[in-house]
């Protein structure tokens, strides 16, 4: 920490974050959109550029750090959450991002992912979910749909997918959200809120892989049908959808059901609450995306505020120091039961 220089924040622009290295994703890859929105968000955070660190594992998505002109560490497959934890604990002044894929975060890195959420270290995790292993050329991932035909499942995958939002909620992340590469405004908005959140924030981005899983989110991005399939959750607002916002998700006391707005007076419709106080609603909402006949919500599932790991660690350091005095090398060496030999 001693090495961190504190400089008056200057107003930065997206160009300040443009890396000299050209992004090398396939033309049309959803990753470009995430990069573009992130570069818009970064100058808005009020964090000096040298205090921003991107940590990634391995995967197409994990190439991300090279493409922003900040500190960046392209590490090994699945371990970014653990590496990022060390970075943040070592220097809590840094704004730390973990950029990861569905394979990187949920397959090999599943354990580090859930433990980071549990510890509530102030890190923003952005998961590029393309439901495929892109970099290794198209095997099914832990979010691929059952039956999906891929290089490693020529007769269809027999595995059930994880729901990343549900895992993050269960593991204890304090900010949990979902967005889509093809909704740039929404994406930007969510990335910004996640980045500003204090504690572990998690954003699942539905991302299209044009090469190995093209169109997997068509029902949510295709203009013709998306209105009937996508719900934008907003705090304190009803969960409307449909071309004319004529439909709504309504809580029937046990679960969400689709109702016609016309059948209800608007203020009796269930309002979305982000405050993290109600596990029942959080999980009920998150489970919708797994049901083919129900709309998929994007937006914020949970936004809770509790002390972060590194705040508690600092408090413990302060408390112990106050109680025992600051340790010096002299006291260190001479602690314990000493005796003189003459």
């Amino acid at each position: 920490m001693a090495e961190t220089m504190h400089i008056e924040p200057v107003k930065l622009t997206r160009d300040d974050f443009t890396s000299p290295i050209d992004a090398r994703w396939c033309p049309g890859c959803g990753d470009y959109s995430i990069l573009a929105q992130m570069k818009k968000v970064l100058p808005e955070l009020g964090v000096p550029k040298e205090n921003i660190v991107f940590i990634a594992g391995i995967g197409c998505s994990s190439r991300f750090p090279y493409y922003v002109d900040t500190y960046g560490y392209h590490t090994i497959h699945g371990r970014a959450p653990a590496i990022a934890s060390g970075v943040k604990i070592a220097n809590p002044d840094l704004k730390v991002f973990v950029m990861t894929g569905d394979g990187d975060a949920l397959s090999i890195g599943g354990n580090h992912f859930i433990h980071l959420c549990r510890r509530n270290i102030d890190i923003t995790i952005v998961l590029f979910n393309n439901e495929i292993y892109g970099l290794t050329k198209g095997q099914y991932s832990p979010t691929s749909k059952q039956g999906q035909i891929t290089k490693s499942s020529p007769y269809g995958s027999i595995e059930r997918p994880f729901n990343p939002v549900e895992m993050a909620l269960a593991a204890g992340a304090t900010f949990v959200a979902r967005t889509i590469d093809r909704e740039p405004k929404h994406l930007e908005h969510i990335l910004k809120r996640a980045a500003m959140h204090k504690g572990t924030s998690f954003v699942e981005v539905y991302q299209n892989c044009v090469i190995f899983n093209d169109g997997v989110y068509n029902s949510l991005t295709d203009k013709k049908v998306k209105d009937d399939n996508l719900i934008y959750m907003e705090n304190d607002k009803s969960l409307l959808f449909g071309k004319e916002k004529e439909k709504a998700l309504h809580w029937n006391g046990t679960r969400f059901e689709v109702v016609q707005v016309s059948d209800h007076s608007v203020d009796t419709l269930t309002k979305h609450k982000e405050d993290g106080g109600n596990p029942a609603a959080e999980f009920a909402l998150s489970s919708l995306s797994m049901e083919a006949h129900l709309p998929t919500p994007i937006g914020v599932f949970r936004n809770a505020h509790i002390p972060t790991y590194e705040q508690m660690l600092q408090k413990q350091i302060d408390d112990v120091t106050e109680q025992k005095g600051e340790g010096t090398l002299e006291t260190l060496l001479n602690s314990g039961k000493t005796f003189e030999i003459k």
Partner: protein, 611 residues
């Protein structure tokens, strides 16, 4: 007292043994502290049961603590104990085979009832048949005598019985003319909120002492003169404690915060426990979800500018292999401590071994060299940890520090270093943001140029793919060839900066013994005896194993034969054969125990004869 004899001895080895619940480690610890204060040199070996918590009274549950004390410098806890304190039949059964001929046995006769004899699988009572006739047996009804001493205590009988180890300790204090003061003091602090326990343990200790003093059973007490060890301030320290302190000291000397990322594993956990106490020294301990997260978080902390370490034992090191490769290719300062234990796999978690050397050398994919340093003794762990850190920062490289269960848990008096005798650790960062290249190297050390997050103008990328001088990915064949060679050459240069060990004995002769790590004490003892016997043998004990010291090749040339004792099937010996093409032979025992110096001496003799 006056009618009892006092004999002076040069050194003595005592082993306390009892059930896991009998407090033998505590008893041994007290004996150790008292002995240190008495000015003897000493060395200890706690030998507790494996992870299993065995049913009371079985041989699986026996816990032992061995200490050698002497008026001369000692380097081992002694091969065969002179005295065995056995609190129950199982303890006697397990330890009898290693007791020296005609050794002293003090038994708690109260525990030699049928049930306990059965549990220990004794067919008949060894106190009653003639199986102990080769030993001097002192039969003491320790339980009864303790209860008797505490008859006025309000404690419940079970609680009273817990004091019986203090009774036993008291007896040994008399026998070896130790003062009871340090232990009485300790009892007062330890139980300060439990006055009844202070009273009980004090009474028991004194009762044991007085019993030995007044009874007919013990006719002789022994004195061990103060050792003429270097004057100064000392404390007893275990290897794991010393390791922890060594790193904190290094952090202070570098002006860095210390970061430990670790997952508990026997016998390394105590380093985590120890370091977690030092919050007021700015020490951050992160108990990770597994060993991979332990090293990964330490890599992150190092990348962000902390002084970072990760601690583990064999299976944990295996898990860290992949991430260690990342630290190698991104060239970050980091120390990985491996407290070796018996392998392979889960193996013998509480036993000692030196079988992870090859894993330390080669347990990573690709060409991924790291410097390797080994500690020689409990207190030496302090120096080894400190030195490992110096090299990690000088070369911007991960360093592997090898200790093992034996020295990690063993204790010895440690001459506390003076604060200003410890060197500063210089940490260098890039200074010129305009021409910053993260893989530009120092010409001498080949160390790369570091900049850490938070340094404005030095924003850059690093990663696990092959890269060029800018840190950016490169697939150019020649660059890969060059980088692989540079990383290798950098590690080779470590021995330009490290001190070479001293050769013990004549610079030329018949046999050269080369050893490393915790066998130091055993080899030392064997070598002393060899010297006494006038054998033509010299000894070179390695500190850095990778790279090997520059002069080793020359030294080897001056001997006809080379013998390499190790607690494995021959690992260092392979490195030496490959490097120097000398027909070095191994002396290998893989028993989960420290090397036996007597056996080693025999091996030395037979190798000399074979000439």
């Amino acid at each position: 007292m006056s009618d009892k004899q006092v004999k002076t001895l040069e050194s003595i080895t005592i082993r306390f043994a009892g059930d896991s619940g009998d407090g033998m480690q505590l008893t041994g610890g007290q004996f150790t502290d008292t002995t240190a204060i008495a000015g003897n040199d000493l060395n200890t070996f706690p030998d507790y049961p494996a992870e299993i918590r065995a049913p009371v009274g079985t041989t699986f549950g026996v816990s032992g603590f061995q200490i050698q004390l002497s008026s001369k410098p000692v380097h081992t806890p002694g091969d065969a104990p002179d005295v065995l304190v056995a609190m129950n039949p199982a303890a006697l059964k397990v330890n009898l085979p290693i007791l020296r001929d005609n050794g002293i046995i003090i038994v708690n006769t109260d525990s030699f009832q049928q049930r306990n004899l059965d549990l220990a699988k004794y067919e008949s009572n060894p106190l009653e048949d003639d199986s102990l006739k080769l030993y001097q047996v002192f039969r003491v009804p320790i339980t009864t005598l303790t209860r008797e001493a505490l008859k006025d205590s309000p404690l419940r009988p079970k609680e009273k019985d817990r004091s019986k180890n203090f009774f036993a300790l008291g007896m040994t204090y008399w026998m070896y003319t130790r003062s009871m003061e340090p232990t009485l003091e300790w009892i007062n602090t330890k139980f300060k909120n439990k006055p009844e326990l202070i009273k009980a343990n004090t009474l028991a200790l004194k009762a044991g002492y007085n019993f030995a003093l007044s009874t007919e059973i013990f006719t002789t007490s022994y004195r061990i003169e103060r050792a003429s060890i270097k004057p100064g301030k000392y404390r007893n320290i275990t290897g794991n404690e010393a390791t922890a302190l060594g790193f904190i000291a290094a952090a202070k000397k570098a002006g860095k915060e210390l970061y430990l990322g670790s997952y508990p594993i026997t016998p390394a956990s105590d380093i985590l426990h120890e370091l977690s106490k030092y919050r007021n020294y700015g020490v951050k301990t992160f108990q990770a979800e597994d060993e991979i997260a332990g090293i990964a978080s330490a890599i992150g902390a190092s990348y962000a500018g902390d002084m970072a370490i990760t601690t583990t034992s064999g299976p944990g090191l295996a898990l860290k292999s992949e991430a260690l490769g990342l630290a190698v290719i991104t060239e970050l300062p980091l120390v990985v401590v491996n407290v070796q234990r018996g392998g392979p796999s889960t193996g013998l978690p509480t036993k000692t071994e030196q079988a992870d050397l090859m894993q330390a050398m080669y347990g990573r994919n690709g060409e991924a060299p790291v410097p390797i340093i080994a500690a020689n003794s409990p207190s030496d762990c302090f120096n080894a940890a400190f030195e490992a850190m110096e090299v990690a920062f000088k070369f911007n490289t991960p360093v592997l520090l090898l200790t093992d269960g034996y020295i990690a848990n063993g204790a010895e008096p440690w001459l506390i270093p003076k604060v200003d005798e410890l060197p500063e650790i210089k940490v260098e960062y890039a200074t010129d943001p305009d021409n910053y290249q993260p893989y530009k190297r120092d010409e001498e050390t080949l160390s790369r140029t570091m900049a850490i997050p938070g340094m404005a103008g030095f924003e850059h990328h690093v990663g696990g793919l092959e890269k060029d001088i800018t840190g950016n990915v490169s697939y150019v064949p020649e660059i890969h060839h060059e980088m692989v060679n540079l990383r290798a050459e950098k590690i080779k240069r470590v021995n330009n900066y490290t001190q070479e060990p001293e050769l013990f004995g004549e610079p030329e002769g018949e046999l050269l013994v080369i050893s490393w790590g915790s066998t130091y004490g055993s080899v030392f003892k064997a070598m002393e005896e060899a010297k006494n016997r006038g054998l033509s043998v010299s000894w070179y004990h390695l500190r850095w194993i990778n790279p090997l010291p520059k002069n080793l090749g020359t030294i080897i040339k001056h001997f006809k034969k080379v013998l390499v004792p190790e607690i494995n099937l021959g690992q260092l010996v392979k490195l030496i054969r490959a490097e120097y093409l000398v027909d070095a032979q191994g002396f290998n025992r893989v028993l989960g125990l420290p090397l036996n110096s007597g056996e080693l001496l025999e091996a030395i003799e037979s190798h000399l004869k074979g000439l």
